[in-house]
């Protein structure tokens, strides 16, 4: 893990830090009135300040940063930078410049990365992260291992946020009615506006924000609402937790938060709940869940039941998955409640009676050691039922605990949004301050938000990007990116996490704290002072010490909510719940672009979606049965008609989709966004009404006859009976731990070779990796973590369609069993680092060879690009730069590159290196201390990011290392071992734990 992550932030001490002067660039930017904004960014790329910044102490990517920026779509190609250095053998090197600091920051040692603890937010909830900076450039996000909510893991979004920081399409200047203006001008205007509002006690003032958990912000709002008693604050997320809160409200008569402990649960039932990937606490849940999926788990493997309309990460992990229309879940829950002796309606069970009975029995058996969870896509009534069920099973306080809510009074985003619009329509509200968000795009269609906005006298938006909503704002203030901001927020368990800036705001962005502060008082304070002042006032013991610790830890220890005992209200008597007939439309946040906010992030866009492996698009996910009925093929464009509105969108046939459910992923089809996101996907919000936020019946589907080209990274999901992925059951494993290897053909013996098997002995370190298919949930975080660590370019939809995606580690999905309810298995595939590497023998120039520690190295600067190695790689993990995929990047975009990894040029092969740069760093540190690298001291990027700890890397010569132990396990196997490639990457066969009483 990071070596010196405990050096805390310079700014906290010296306001005058020796950082480069971004404010200069900002000023230049402001001078560039009238220019369109893409260009203005390119212009500053040319300023000496930026060149200095980029060349500062010659980061290795420096030469990559020289060439001029092209006007083309930034994924498009020209020129070759390393291509030239490739010719070093026959060219004279150009004279490079050294640009030292003028005043060197004390904590900064050129060439040594620094690691700072800070916080990443999603929908207002915090996860702790560690950010690696090189000479003041944040380049990589890691999970904060000490943070209670994510325990060192990150989500794909967390990994990708660093790319957003350098997004050239970010809002860069204060805009007034679309014209560049200044922050000062804005302040003076606000001064007047607020004076006006003060007179009417803020009757016309409305604040619209996303869900906020920040104590500082809450205190600010309290102050604001005290000063303007009639003002109102509306918190609202397009894919927020309203239903969850309402459910708790029904069940307990008060606002509480529900927290699970899956480590203690033997039997889990998830009702349309994707708690492993889309829940605010999913990182912790995934960790807890996975500890009970390991073959060597002490207290037995848990059993997971899932009922859901379309395959989710959690559903794929299920031992028994029931594909059921979202509208059918409530009936199922009610029937289950009935079987558990609660007032429920058993009639809803329908043909699933058997399934429910078995689940009920299993849950009863594990009473107090079971857990039932419902997803935010289910109505409050289902959540209430689930609370009662957990109560009846005696899980409350054991596997399910309750804490005080983030907001003392219930927050219902939908309702407050409706109220807000009503107030504007009625004219009672005339001033709106929006903190981020994009309601014009993502508010329910039956609420005409844009029309409301036009009514406003004064509309202000603070946002990192300009989107559909910005157009209606009188003032648009560029927001500081999280990595540029001071602030705080609570994790889902309540832990207060501190946000500290890693770099000065590139475009002078402001934080919400600063904006609200500006409404309250002028002259304004900067957010550092705001945060520090607040916390110093919280009479923490020995503030200075606590504060410094909080900054270096990234969170304030012991601030998690205490669990509380709740008294459940009398279970309501639910009667004859029947799912609506006909086709059902289901809305889900997109696994990559979420509610639409990440649509301009190329890493996320190109990340293959789980199951479909779609990139750069969303689709209407339909069941094979429906496809058959309507004669639909993948890519056929259909017209969906729902409650009087229509949407044309291509379909994708998803095995495991509930027969009559059509799932739409939100967040695509944006009208106004950056170069990456423009023109991608289809806008599902066009059908999303306030009465069917998550699902609703009465959908009509019509085939249009048009087709649409999708880009997918995997086209074949059948394992073709090859020894690639090994599966079995927990029961089989109990009876014979070696049952798997017994039924597969053995690897050829070590001596079955013409050559001496001892030609090369790996006596020093012997690196190897073990991937546990039992715990891998297929969340893709490893893939994007690898992309961030290893400077892997994105290639764009067109190139993906041509089969030229560049991910070094891919997550393959294989389907087994019936089309309608298949078993799905994920398999992460990095380079196998074969000891008898087939790729090496065929390379004419020795560009891919072995080193003494068994690494299969790819030497980019030696590679001439014959691509023979890839042909001869049975695992097809090699990636080729068919074109100059790094060309056309602005200087700012290039700042994301990791200087410890060569940026590959056109025409060279690349692949997973086991993060050789990390190995070297660790070795050098160790050798300087004359010791060996300790097990766990060195982790690969994918391993560090994995929420389920499915990937373990280490020294195979050290019998005590975790990887050696995993390799020794009976389930361990080498993929396609019969080819005698002797892979260093091995897998643990996948076990499922089916309920013997159930046939399917």
């Amino acid at each position: 893990m990071p070596m010196n992550r405990h050096d805390h932030h310079p700014i906290s001490e010296t306001e005058d830090s020796g950082r480069i002067d971004i404010s200069r660039i900002r000023r230049r930017l402001e001078e560039m009135h009238g220019l369109n904004y893409w260009r203005s960014l390119d212009e500053i790329a040319g300023t000496p300040e930026f060149q200095d910044f980029l060349h500062r102490e010659f980061p290795s990517a420096a030469s990559e940063l020289k060439d001029e920026v092209s006007r083309r779509h930034f994924l498009k190609i020209m020129g070759a930078s390393l291509a030239l250095t490739g010719m070093a053998a026959c060219t004279r090197q150009p004279v490079e410049k050294i640009v030292p600091y003028v005043k060197q920051p004390p904590e900064l040692v050129p060439g040594k990365p620094l690691h700072y603890a800070t916080t990443a937010l999603l929908d207002g909830f915090a996860t702790g992260i560690l950010v690696t900076t090189h000479e003041g450039r944040p380049t990589k996000i890691e999970g904060n291992p000490d943070h209670p909510i994510n325990l060192g893991a990150t989500t794909a979004f967390g990994q990708a946020m660093v790319l957003d920081l350098y997004d050239p399409d970010r809002a860069q200047t204060v805009l007034n009615a679309g014209k560049p203006a200044s922050w000062e001008a804005f302040l003076s205007v606000m001064n007047l506006e607020m004076r006006a509002q003060r007179e009417k006690k803020g009757a016309g003032l409305r604040i619209l924000s996303g869900c906020v958990t920040s104590p500082v912000f809450h205190s600010q709002m309290r102050a604001l609402l005290a000063a303007f008693p009639l003002a109102k604050w509306c918190q609202r997320e397009p894919v927020g937790l309203d239903t969850v809160r309402l459910g708790a409200q029904i069940a307990f008569g008060r606002a509480v938060e529900t927290l699970y402990n899956f480590e203690k649960a033997d039997v889990i039932l998830a009702l349309d709940a994707d708690f492993l990937s889309t829940h605010p606490a999913s990182l912790r849940y995934a960790r807890q869940f996975s500890t009970r999926r390991r073959p060597d788990t002490a207290d037995g493997m848990n059993r997971l039941y899932v009922a859901e309309p379309s395959s989710s990460i959690t559903g794929a992990m299920a031992d028994h998955r029931l594909s059921l229309a979202a509208g059918g879940i409530e009936a199922l829950a009610s029937a289950l409640a009935h079987r558990l002796g609660l007032p429920g309606d058993d009639g809803g069970a329908g043909e699933h009676g058997g399934w429910i009975a078995a689940v009920a029995a299993d849950l009863k058996r594990a009473a107090g050691r079971s857990a039932v969870i419902a997803g935010k896509g289910q109505p409050a009534s289902v959540h209430a039922l689930v609370h009662w069920i957990n109560g009846a099973l005696g899980n409350a306080g054991k596997t399910v605990v309750y804490t005080n809510a983030f907001d003392s009074e219930l927050v219902n985003g939908m309702e407050s949004l409706k109220k807000l619009v009503a107030d504007i329509e009625s004219g009672s509200a005339d001033m709106l301050v929006m903190l981020g968000g994009n309601p014009v795009y993502d508010a329910p269609v039956d609420i005409d938000f844009s029309k409301a906005l036009e009514k406003l006298k004064m509309c202000v938006r603070l946002g990192v990007d300009e989107n559909e909503t910005s157009r209606f704002c009188h003032w648009h203030i560029p927001a500081a990116h999280e990595l540029e901001s001071w602030g705080d927020a609570r994790a889902f368990d309540g832990t207060v996490s501190i946000t500290q800036p890693l770099i000065e705001p590139l475009y002078g962005g402001k934080t919400p704290l600063e904006l609200i502060d500006a409404l309250l008082r002028q002259p304004t304070r900067n957010s550092y002072t705001i945060v520090r002042d607040y916390w110093s006032a919280q009479n923490l013991p020995d503030f200075e010490k606590t504060w410094r610790k909080a900054l270096s830890d990234g969170f304030i220890a012991g601030t998690a909510f205490e669990t509380i005992a709740v008294t459940s209200a009398e279970p309501a008597r639910t009667s004859n719940i029947r799912p609506g007939g006909g086709l059902e439309l289901v809305f889900r946040p997109d696994p990559s672009v979420w509610d639409g906010r990440f649509v301009n992030n190329a890493w996320l866009q190109e990340l293959p979606r789980p199951f479909t492996k779609l990139t750069w698009d969303n689709a209407a996910l339909i069941s094979p049965a429906l496809a058959q009925r309507e004669q639909l093929q993948n890519g056929d464009v259909v017209e969906l008609e729902f409650r009087g509105r229509t949407l044309r969108i291509p379909v994708w046939i998803l095995p495991g989709q509930a027969e009559n459910s059509v799932t739409l992923h939100l967040g695509y089809g944006r009208q106004k966004t950056g170069r990456v996101g423009t023109g991608t996907g289809f806008n599902a919000y066009a059908l999303r009404t306030s009465d069917a936020l998550w699902f609703g019946s009465g959908l009509q589907i019509r085939k249009t006859g048009e087709t649409y080209p999708f880009s997918t990274t995997q086209r074949h999901f059948n394992v073709e009976g090859r020894d690639i992925i090994r599966e079995g059951t927990w029961q089989e494993f109990q009876s014979d731990p070696h049952f798997m290897s017994a039924r597969t053909e053995p690897e050829p013996g070590r001596d079955d070779t013409l050559y001496s098997p001892d030609e090369f002995k790996y006596t020093g370190y012997k690196w190897g990796m073990s991937i546990d298919l039992n715990t891998c949930i297929g969340c893709n975080t490893c893939a994007i973590a690898c992309q961030a660590e290893n400077n892997i370019p994105t290639v764009g939809k067109d190139q993906v369609a041509r089969g030229r995606e560049m991910h070094w580690i891919r997550v393959d999905a294989y389907y087994r069993g019936g089309l309608d309810d298949p078993e799905i298995s994920h398999q992460p595939v990095p380079c196998m680092h074969c000891e008898n590497a087939p790729c090496e023998v065929v390379c004419p120039v020795g560009a891919t060879v072995h080193d003494d520690e068994g690494l299969n190295m790819q030497v980019y600067n030696r590679c001439i690009g014959t691509r023979y190695c890839s042909n001869n790689c049975p695992y097809k993990v090699r990636r080729f730069n068919f074109l100059e995929f790094n060309a056309g990047m602005t200087s700012v975009q290039k700042m994301v590159k990791n200087p410890d990894v060569t940026v590959r040029s056109r025409g060279v092969m690349e692949k997973c290196t086991y993060c050789t740069q990390r190995i070297n760093a660790a070795r050098i540190t160790a050798e300087k201390e004359d010791r060996k690298i300790r097990d766990g001291e060195l982790v690969t990027a994918c391993q560090a990011a994995c929420p389920a700890e499915a990937i373990v890397f280490g020294d195979l010569n050290d019998p005590a290392s975790r990887v050696s132990k995993l390799r020794a396990q009976p389930l361990s196997y080498g993929m396609l071992g019969e080819l005698n490639t002797r892979p260093r990457t091995s897998y643990l066969g996948k076990l499922r734990n089916p309920n013997p009483e159930m046939k399917s």
Partner: protein, 179 residues
Amino acid sequence: MKTNNSIYGLIAEFETHGQLLEAANSAREEGYCRMDGFTPFPVEGLPQALGRGRTKIPLIVLLGGICGGLGGYFMEWYANVVSYPINIGGRPLNSWPMFIPITFELTVLGAALSAFFSALLLNKLPQPYHPVFNAPHFERASIDRFFLCIESIDPKFEPVATRAFLEKFEAINISEVTK
């Protein structure tokens, strides 16, 4: 009467290669040793008729081949075993079976080059200028005529006698070749 040193030799022009062979044979028997025949295609037996021994070319080619082969294997062995030994997919440094193709190719190359160049050098080509080109109708030596030239440096050469000797055969004409 010219003296020997001003002329290169006497040349006789024949219709068929049979006549040439006959003349050459009896010339050899007569004791002439410095003579040469010129024909539009290789005439079998002519070299023997003119008293020429076997050529050294096959030997040279053999040597060339051996050098090529040995050199080839040495190059591979030196590069991959001595100069920069690297672990290539666990294969031994001196993976001789995989070194055979290049060894073979270089053997052939060495032999072929020596064959071609020895042929040229021994024939002293290129030699754009040569006295026999002065002989009348000599262009037809590459078309349809067969020539026999007895050179003046032949100890037995005697302008008159030699001409008389040549006239014994049905040569189309006999002429002096000036230097």
